[in-house]
Amino acid sequence: MGLGIDVRNRIAKRAAEEIKNGMVVNLGIGIPSLVPNHLPDHVNVMFHAENGITGMGPSPKKGEEDENLCNAGGFPVTVVAGASYCDSAISFGMIRRGRVDMTILGSLEVSENGDLANWIVPGKKVPGMGGAMELAQKAKKVIVLMNHVDKHGKPKIVKECSLPLTSARCVDLIITEMGVFVVTNDGLHLKEIFPPYSFQEIKTNTGCSFQW
C-alpha cells in the first residue's frame, strides 16, 4: 500500500521544516526527493549527492538532461550557484567528517532506539550497502521518511528490527503519514499527530511503546 502523492508531499513538507539556513543535506530516493519542493525561499541549503555533487538543484526540463550530471540514483539533476564537483572519496569524506548536517532517507524498519534497517529488501537478493551505512552512521542528523506500516499493514516502527541493520542507533527523527517521532536516549517520543489520525490509531500501528 503506497501513499498518495498528497500524503507523500505532506511528509516531505514536514521534513523540509527541519532544514535550517546553511545546512548541507543528503537526500535519499523516494519521498526524500520531494523535500526540495517544499523549502521556504529564504533558506540557503546545499544538497549533497554522494557521487560528488554539492549544490544539486531541481530536475532539468525534459530534453535538457545532461548525461554527465546525475544524482546518486543515476537521474539527471541541475546545480545551483555555489555548487562544486568532487570525487567519491572527498564526497564521503564530507560525510565521515561530520560536514553533512542531515540525511533524509527512506527505511524498511526503524527500532525504538533508532536502529535503521533500510538496505536489504525481504526476499530480494542482497544488493550491497552502497553509501547507506556511511550516511546513517556519520550524518549529523538522520531523518527517516516512510509509510507508518508496510504493505501488509504491519508496523515499520518496531521494538527490534527483524531485517539486517544498516546502522545501529543512528536515527534521530521519524516522519510518517501519521506523525513525527523523536528518538531519544530514553526511547521514542511521539511529537506530532497528523490529522486525520488519532493517538489510538498511531498506537495500534506502532510496534513498540513510545512516550507522548
Binding site: A49, E50, N51, G52, I53, E65, D66, E67, N68, L69, C70, N71, A72, G73, G74, F75, P76, V79, Y85, C86, D87, S88, A89, S91, F92, G93, I95, R96, K125, V126, P127, G128, M129, G130, G131, M133, E134, Q137, K138, P164, L165, S167, A168
Partner: protein
Amino acid sequence: MENSYNKIITIERAMENFQDGMTIIFGGFGGIGSPPTIIDGILDKEVKELTLIGNDTGFPHIGIGKIVSEGRAAKIIASHIGSNPVAGQLMTEGKLEVEFSPQGILAERIRAGGVGLGAILSDIGMDNEMVADGKQRVIVEGKEYLVETALKGDVSIIYAKKADPYGNLIYDKSARNTNPLVAMAGNITIAEVEEIVPLGSLEPHEITTPGVFVDYIVPSKGVNWTWAWE
C-alpha cells in the same frame, strides 16, 4: 595532434593490455563516467575470468554492466549491485563472487592503492558482518577500527572529458566520481577521453588528474547505450 609522450593510442593498441584473469579497476558510478569504448573493446576481445573493482555493476546494458552481464567477470568488489539484476542472479548461481564494501570506504581503498598505502583504518560498518567479517581490528587512541586493505589493479580504465598529450585530465561534472581515484590505482592506466587538446592548453590548476598517472589515452567513440532515465 602532437603525440610527444607517445601516450595517445588507438583502441586496438590499448586492447593489447588486457588478458584473461586480470584485475581491472573501472571508473564510473551507475555507468556515468565509465569508458564506453574501452568496455566494448574488452567485450570484443572476449577476455574472461576478470576481477573487477569499482563502485557498482552499472545496469545490465550500461557501463561495466555489459561485461558483467556477459559473464566475463569471476569476481567483483563493489558497493552495490542493485541496479544490475543479472549480477545478482550470477551471484546467486555461484557464477560471480561478490565482495561488498561501503561506498566511501571502497573509494578510499582504491585511493589508498593509488597513493601507495597498505590500508586505511575505518569505523564504518564495524558491527555488520558483511563488512567486518574476517577483517583485522586495530585500536588507535582507544577506539577500534577495521583494517580496510588498499586495492590495486593490473589496469585502470577511466573516462574523462579532456586530455592533453601528457595525459593531464579534466572530468565532466558528476562523471568525475571515482575516476580520479581509479586513475591512480592501476599498474597501467588507460584514459578514454572525449577530446584531446594541445599541450599547454589546460590551465595547470584546473587539471584534476596529473598526467603522471596516465599511461595511455584513447579517443572515445562516445556513449552507445541508452540511459535508464531515457
